[in-house]
Assembly symmetry: C2
Homo-oligomer: 345 residues x 2
Amino acid sequence: MLTPRQELILSAIIEDYVRMAEPVGSRALAKHDDIQFSPATIRNEMADLEEMGYLTQLHTSSGRIPSQKGYRFYVDNLLQQQGGFDRATGERLREFFTSRIDEVEKAVREVTTVLSSLTRQTAIVLGPKMYTEKVRKIELVPLARGRVVAILVTDAGHVENCAVQLSEDIRVEDLESIVHVLNDKLVGVPISRLRSNLYSKLSEELAQTVERFEDALAVLNEVCQVSQREEPVYIGGASNMLSQPEFHDVEKAQTILTLLEQGQTVASLFPTEGLGLQVRIGAENPIGALQDCTVITTTYSLHGRPVGHIGVLGPTRMDYNRIMQILNYTSESMTQMMSRWIEGH
Amino acid sequence: MLTPRQELILSAIIEDYVRMAEPVGSRALAKHDDIQFSPATIRNEMADLEEMGYLTQLHTSSGRIPSQKGYRFYVDNLLQQQGGFDRATGERLREFFTSRIDEVEKAVREVTTVLSSLTRQTAIVLGPKMYTEKVRKIELVPLARGRVVAILVTDAGHVENCAVQLSEDIRVEDLESIVHVLNDKLVGVPISRLRSNLYSKLSEELAQTVERFEDALAVLNEVCQVSQREEPVYIGGASNMLSQPEFHDVEKAQTILTLLEQGQTVASLFPTEGLGLQVRIGAENPIGALQDCTVITTTYSLHGRPVGHIGVLGPTRMDYNRIMQILNYTSESMTQMMSRWIEGH
DNA sequence: GTTAGCACTCAAACGAACCGAGTGCTAAAG
DNA sequence: CTTTAGCACTCGGTTCGTTTGAGTGCTAAC
């Protein structure tokens, strides 16, 4: 639909604008190396591009800035994954992923720092969900007066725990028998099936076989609850927002920072389906407050299935190419890392 | 050193300034209910107070604002813990602490939300440290190829875990014997003594008695490491900063928000000794960037010993009385809560 | 010791003038 | 038919002087 020259100009405008954060005019564009036309020609093309909706003007005598549609076209058609990121960036990423991190949770937590400092935007990571993992072991540790800690370990080495209040007069042997039965029935079962049908079936069975069945039920109940915990949300570099000129308006900045404090809301930024890179520009986001923001997301996987999300949030004026590359690399590295630690069953 | 009238005026100025966030002049003060003097008199007193360093002026023809010294005097001498906080605040706090929260960690995490929304400032909580707790149980769960999850449970129901890499050919029986020995030696030992002398002593002993002593050492090592983990830092309502007029300057706001993203730095805000309420005004803070901020902190305890910190961070212009009361109440409630869950051995 | 009166100060708000980056249009050149 | 040079026009941002008003310090009277 666009002539090659128009595409060239649109590209140049976006790249300039991303760098300088200011409306770009025809003269500035004409100075670009790969643009050989006079300002007047460029003005004509820009007028056309604006008419088609790819550019906008803040006021009659200002330069043009890309519209949401402009960014979309750019991301979809003009971004031919040119080259990798710069040397230093690659260095930093490689260093992080080859450093001696030995735990999934730690890696997931710290990757936000790397991502946000590399992109100078806000990085968001949704911790791996246990959904596809299987029960490896259930443990009960008595504390005092019927107070017990229930611990659930998955085959991926994930540990969750919670407190359970049982009958005050419960004995150690009772606990042992409960643990025994639960492990017997549940080891190897995928977390995803813990709640649904299995729960009701198993609770019936317990009622018939186990002596202290009320307590056993309580434990089973808590274990199931704990296994359904929503995955943790990690956010890094939220303060980077403030260095973006678009958020020099404190009101806007506050709206977004407040939003980032609600884990629930943040989690909803990630698409529920589809894997691989996804870019949501401005109003494409599910959340109204993010009209002027872009969220780029991708997933990381275990055993071929996506188990977590990583993303970068920033103003629509962001370096799409670079950030997408960084996210791609990070996604792959995390996937590798996971599979290295959590080897097949 | 100050006449009663000067104290009255200083109090009034601070309270006005805290409410309105604008320099207060003599005429505005004269309208106060409990001030019966004419503006001229007040001007004279204000000039004296300024000379003594309790007030400052932004420019010759502006009203006065309290200096750091002024706030300090106010907090030390003029704040006679008048009445409790307002009804709604008490309501909210009571509701939170009587709600069915059943885990220390959850309570600690969520109290930041309540605190920050009540104070409209940034709330910081340092999770309970395990320092005084005792080892209740150590557990090893094998995953695959020598990869093992080590789990440490304390008598307070605290669970920490980490991954350990052992010899690939290790057998389940080896693990069992390691667990057995470790539990034998370590159950009942206070976390605080795990690292120091005990560690070296025990490692010698292990070397002599256990078969797979290298692996046993690895486990012991990790367990000790994990027990020394710095307590978690929870922050709530950092975005509240931005609604304070003193942080309408984006630069300042960013400095502080960036600072809040470094857990290490945040932890250093809390005094290492002394318990009970502590107020640090402006430059009294250890961190230079907090020149214009006040940090009010207190502790919460278990078995009479402080195990964690709670605090509120905001501009020096804050409602000292109210926030101190809220922190006091919160501190007491958390202490009660802890002792209710974690009953004496 | 307290207060009324008054001259003085100074930040903030207002507005006119100016500047300049940038546009759209027209007409000439290729 | 496309490209470009020229030119009038637009409009946000800056500068600079003026005005306004809240607030002070000082002095003299109560």
